[in-house]
Amino acid sequence: MTTEPVLAVSSLSASYGKFRALTDVDFDIAPGEIVAVIGANGAGKSTLLRSLINQAGSATGSVRLDGKEILGLPTAEIIHRGIALVPEGRRLFPSLTVDENLRLGWEVGRRASARAEDFFNLFPIAAELRPRQAGALSGGQQQIVAFGRALMADPRVLLCDEISLGLAPRVVDEIYAVLPKLQARGLAIVIVERDVKRALKAASRFYCLLEGRVSLAGSCRDNTRADVSHAYFGSH
């Protein structure tokens, strides 16, 4: 990599009680880069994302944001420093309006101005949803709002956990079409995705996890389907 990474992870391990979910994971991402994290169910993808924001049991190792160690800091502090998560399953606050959900994202983040306008420019449909209760929206609309809530924090690194899960392909296309625009602004985007084909198409590099370890990492263009399949499923 030629650019200094905005996020650098080394020897990251995470455990839930006695169960070790991640072991010695090394990972980095540069500004304006899209990186995919792939792997089978239970491989540790979501745990990796949650470890980065101190939401995954006990973690050891090192996580550096802009060269500063953030491992072990409270989640609120990490998000305030510039990492935001679009959680799996959207996880909006259903009784709050779209506006209120978005504002919460802004409040916990770096509080940059004009984030809302920026988001509504990216997703014009979201502007019409502002006064509606989040729980009354369709799954696709909720995903757009969840995406917007994370963007409102004005992150330097955006973590997207299974953003296509349970959604119509058209909606997924709409969200993925926005990623290059965000990338062009220097946002580093980590995609955790079960739809491997889509993830590898959107990203420039990938990490494949197998049983909590990185089984393969590299350029999305340089690795063959057989390499990825072997790293994804392990030796058979």
Binding site: R91, L104, V108
Partner: protein, 288 residues
């Protein structure tokens, strides 16, 4: 006869204002923090004794004592959450109940030790006896009317705070999904602490009117707690205006019971509560 019935009804409605004041803090504890605070009534009584100490021993006028008490009780609410309750918040239903039960015992015995078992009240001068005659046999007391007006204003203010402010959106978010709130970076424990600080402020108001309207003693907290529970269950958990309705219903029931036979006053309230809860277990009003 009509005047008698009207008077009973009016006194019941006015008593309901006081009961609503007792219940507002508990409704916030249960509705926002998901904390069934067994010590709620004792905290009201503790605050009443605080006012008593500030007026009788520190020599402050009642209004100044009240202004001094509000930040102290808010700080106590915040401190209890941050120092104690957060440690048991995710340990299931029983540990928070036991911890607040322990706080209740400590407050009762501490007050007994400090102030003795005598019943107390605040002197409110002319306000105590001032009243207006509406018609023959029907009177409205100034203090009960003030209590009801304060209850209405307080519920309105809290309603606006929760449903029309950024702080309220935080409260609702944390209440609705603490795990999600934590995931997106909301400081859940701090928000809970601020919610209990707000509870502390409402307890100060309840304590002021408890001492103005009724006698209190170190062991009278549980009776206030039962009233508060009945009010919020009647009104429907999570509905602020339901608290006022629940308080008024309980007040009217007690007023009618007391008119039939004085010892029936409290029992009548409990019976109406049981009857209505059988009819509408979800409370009178829908949760907001």
């Amino acid at each position: 006869m009509t005047a008698l019935l009207l008077n009973i009804l009016i006194q019941g409605v006015l008593l309901g204002g006081l009961y609503a004041l007792f219940a507002i803090g508990l409704a916030l504890s249960v509705g926002v923090v998901r904390l069934v605070n067994i010590a709620h009534g004792d905290l009201i009584v503790l605050a009443s004794f605080g006012l008593l100490w500030l007026t009788q021993y520190a020599g402050l006028p009642l209004w100044a004592a009240f202004l001094a008490l509000v930040p102290v009780m808010s700080g106590l609410g915040y401190g209890l959450q941050q120092g104690l309750l957060r440690r048991v918040a995710d340990k299931g239903l029983l540990p928070p109940l036991l911890v607040t039960f322990g706080i209740s015992i400590i407050i009762q015995n501490g007050l007994l030790e400090a102030f003795g078992a005598d019943t107390r009240s605040f002197a409110s001068g002319a306000l105590q006896t001032a009243s207006w005659r509406l018609t023959e046999g029907v009177y409205v007391g100034a203090l009960p009317l003030l209590t009801l007006a304060v209850a209405v204003c307080l519920i309105f203010a809290i309603d606006r705070l929760i449903y029309a402010s950024h702080f309220g959106a935080r409260l609702r978010a944390v209440s609705e999904g603490p795990a999600t709130a934590s995931l997106i970076g909301l400081p859940v424990d701090r928000v809970y602490g601020l919610a209990l600080a707000l509870v502390g402020a409402t307890i100060s108001i309840a304590a002021l009117f408890l001492g103005l309207r009724m006698n209190f003693d170190p062991l009278s907290g549980p009776a206030r707690l039962i009233v508060a529970f009945e009010v919020i269950v009647l009104g429907g958990l999570g509905n602020l205006w339901g608290i006022l309705a629940g308080g008024i219903l309980l007040g009217v029931a007690q007023s009618v019971g007391g008119a039939v036979d004085a010892p029936l006053q409290v029992l009548a309230g409990h019976l109406v509560f049981l009857f209505l809860i059988l009819l509408r277990p979800q409370g009178l009003f829908r949760k907001n």
